[in-house]
Symmetry: C2
Subunit: 246 residues, 2 copies
């Protein structure tokens, strides 16, 4: 999946309540290429059928989940621990965005430093002792009027940023069937000239002083469509069709 | 919320099946500051109690949702439409990442261009006619072995990137109680010298040739902690306490 995913971050859910949220969190993890899940005292015990059902396709993450009785135990082998929570009011702590955390976690991976991210139980979140266990807080900077994230969404935000940190997908690209390719300028000229010839013939371009602007506008319009070679041929067929019998 | 949120993007769910997913999508939207939801032929009719229950805190988004019978109607007043789906195999279409889409949508907002994002029904996604209705495809570049996102997660990915595009949260900052502030260098020197004096007294620094390195290491160690003024005072109390009665 990733060239330096030597120790990809471990996701640790502290006292999760609903099995369905554990399953959804597992899905969010695997969507982003993470598969090491640790659970601290899940309320409804373990294994949990609802967690398995909700994990739809990410069952292996659920089956491989490791269970611990307290957060300290779950973090024992980790060297750098993040806690996802609101900005603390009564503690001095470094707070980072998920994007910054992703960059730091990748840097840790490059140095073979084992990282983990703690998520609190639904609604109540992490308590201050859990937070003190962590090195750094991750706070997702959301709508201040409604910042409370569903557990699986919080896991997704962190895992997604981790994945994006090394993603090299082109931000924008024209995707087309393998059988075709972008038209070249000669093919486009052929189309434009074909169209203009027929428009001259039918009288659409008869006002000579308007002709240059009209032609330029038509070429700009069709040019913006990023036509493929196949589409140029289709449009020439369309022109031919429309002129038939004239 | 946002200085140029003149026409924030509309979220359009096409034939959503489960009320709980509609509710979770509404939550994800409001978490990111979006509140205009449109639904095309929700399977279980409308209103939907499960959607309302799952929206927990985002009920207004559900109550304000507009219902349409087909995607064309739902997009009629929009000028730029994105479709979230896998990369198309048999169409020529521009494909962008959620991050790129966010930048483009913000640019549209600056020009008062109304945008919307289409999401397909669970499992099946959008069909080719829905996709043809859109200008551009948004594809979330996920784990290629498990790319299928839950509906609410897909909405979150798009809405989150939209929010982040104009977010100016400091990527990393030290957050501390209002009653304190970062210690200054004089306060830190006072702490270091206090510690070193006591360590000289108790004999810990007695090997004179090792003293400079030891002192430098201790200063580095404590320096990395980014101590606050309050914490410096606490540590000086700790030193005093440890030395008591010696």
């Amino acid at each position: 999946m990733n060239k330096n995913a030597s120790f990809p971050p471990v996701i640790i859910l502290v006292k999760p309540q609903l099995g369905v949220n554990i399953g959804m969190a597992a899905r969010a993890m695997l969507n982003c290429g993470l598969d090491q899940l640790r659970l601290v005292s899940p309320r409804d015990g373990w294994p949990n059928d609802q967690a398995l059902a909700a994990s739809a396709g990410a069952e292996q993450v659920i089956r491989d989940a490791k269970i611990f009785t307290n957060p300290g135990e779950a973090c024992a082998d980790l060297q750098k621990v993040y806690a996802t929570t609101a900005r603390p009011r009564d503690m001095t702590k470094r707070v980072v965005t998920p994007r910054q955390a992703a960059t730091e976690i990748r840097a840790c991976q490059n140095q073979n430093i084992k990282t983990g991210v703690l998520f609190g139980r639904e609604a109540k979140g992490l308590n201050n002792d859990d937070i003190a266990l962590s090195d750094t807080i991750i706070n997702v900077p959301l709508n201040a009027d409604y910042p409370s994230l569903n557990l699986a969404q919080a896991v997704f935000a962190v895992a997604y940023e981790w994945l994006m940190d090394e993603d090299d997908t082109a931000p924008s690209q024209l995707v087309m069937p393998k059988s075709t390719r972008p038209a070249n300028k000669q093919e486009l000229s052929g189309l434009f000239e074909h169209l203009e010839r027929e428009l001259d013939d039918c009288g659409f371009l008869r006002v000579q002083e308007k002709r240059p602007v009209m032609v330029r506008n038509l070429r700009n319009m069709l040019g913006r469509a990023d036509l493929t070679e196949q589409e140029v041929r289709t449009l020439r067929g369309v022109i031919k069709g429309l002129c038939r019998g004239r």
